[in-house]
Amino acid sequence: MRLHRHIIWEWWDRFWFAPGSARNLAAARIVIAVHALWIVLSRDYAGIAGLPADLWSGVTMLDRVRYAIVPGHPMMERALTVVAVVALLAVALGIATRVSCLVAALLLYHLAPFETILWTTSPYERGLEISTLALVVLSIAPCADVWSVPARYGKQRDESWEYNWPLLLIQLFVAQVYLFSGWSKLFRVGWSWVSAENLRHWLLLFNQEDQIAVFRGAGTWLAGHPALCLLVAIGSLTLDLTFIVVLVWKRARKIYVPLAVAFHIGILFSMNIAFLNLPQLFVFLDWDWLTERLRGNRPARIPETAGVSR
């Protein structure tokens, strides 16, 4: 028992607390902040706060308390959106990240639900779920030691375990999208989800529904090939369930991350679904390796980890 505990702790320590790169963590900070800014600046949460009270009739008091939402005050929400934008800019620039990350996280937690709150309290797929969690993690991490305004003239930082665990946790949040997406198909439908007929029906729906279909060619063509539909169904479920290996097998990122990007681009053109978290896949890039390449230096890193972050 004691031995088991020792082995588990050793594995835990090696996984979470291995030396990590300051640059990769800083890059994750910038990716998360810029992505969240992209979403916030593309929506109007304050406008939804100002919709007539009749539209808010289905929102319970508990829903409002959960997200600290008081409808009917668009000016206040506009002011909070401005604060969120300023906080996210500060995060991107690495200014006062303890405070700016936490403020941004709490404001995203408050603002994001406006998009769906009239009918559901879960604004998932709207792009801000990972950012909200990641910003809380970044608020307690030394994420501005490099690539930040305060660290502009600072010296190069050595690798440290304190750079590793926050980045790994953010990467886990991204990897969970795939894992849970695959798990949900088995949990809610079972193995019968993997069938040519089911995927064909999904493709047909998103291509026949004229209120959705922007791109029709790829989806309609694919739906006409049942063998390919089956292959795509098997491939997507396999990608979903195995993507998480990128956390423990760093070399796999060179295959999985581009594959995931291609997968989402394929879904965009065949099903008219835009996966808004796509840019967050940049947290898997090895920015140390990339920086050295851009400077024309041969990366000093051992080949096993080349092209991937630690």
Binding site: W16, W38, D44, I48
Partner: protein, 213 residues
Amino acid sequence: MVTDVVALVCFAGFVIGALVLCGRRPRGLATWQRKTRVSLFLVYTLGASFGAGLAQHDIWPFVAWPLVAARLPATVTEPRVVAVDARGAEYDIDYRAWWPLSFDELTGWLNQDFLTLPPETQDRVARFLVAKADSARRAARLGAAIGHYGRFLGPFAAPLFLLHPRIWSDSTHVPSEPFVGLRFYQESWNLETHAAGSSAVRRRLVYRFPAAP
């Protein structure tokens, strides 16, 4: 209700855990003490995120991610909202007209909550929606922006999760007559027969404004 409470508690615990972790001068602690604190935070976060995902219960921002996680039958039913002019002619509405609401949130709400409202409230909402659609129609006729999706980022603004065609991008395709009413349909069709060339769609009128004389 239970989900709301659990979700709030989970997120509050996550934030409090973070605050505890960065408080009390963590730099003054030995490495093993700091690692132990971080480990407790990690265990909590893993518990919340895997709990939501494996149990398939959204406790946002810990999400279950059920993307396309259903078996779709051959016959599907989708909502459609159309505007009506004084002659009774129906028109599709560009999704941008509903800004700041998105098409998917509006139809989700119409499906779930709208029909449970008293008739006079339904009519008030319908009047608001007609005004919104007509204001967008007028803007589109003049070639002005519909909604404000690109107000800060222009063409680089984030799209919606589900794409929608911009049917009023060409001002010559925008209805010329003012909208005076609205109808809400549920449309059903068979995916397979549709793919084979049939355009048969069964329409069920769920609500109309103004009410039929």
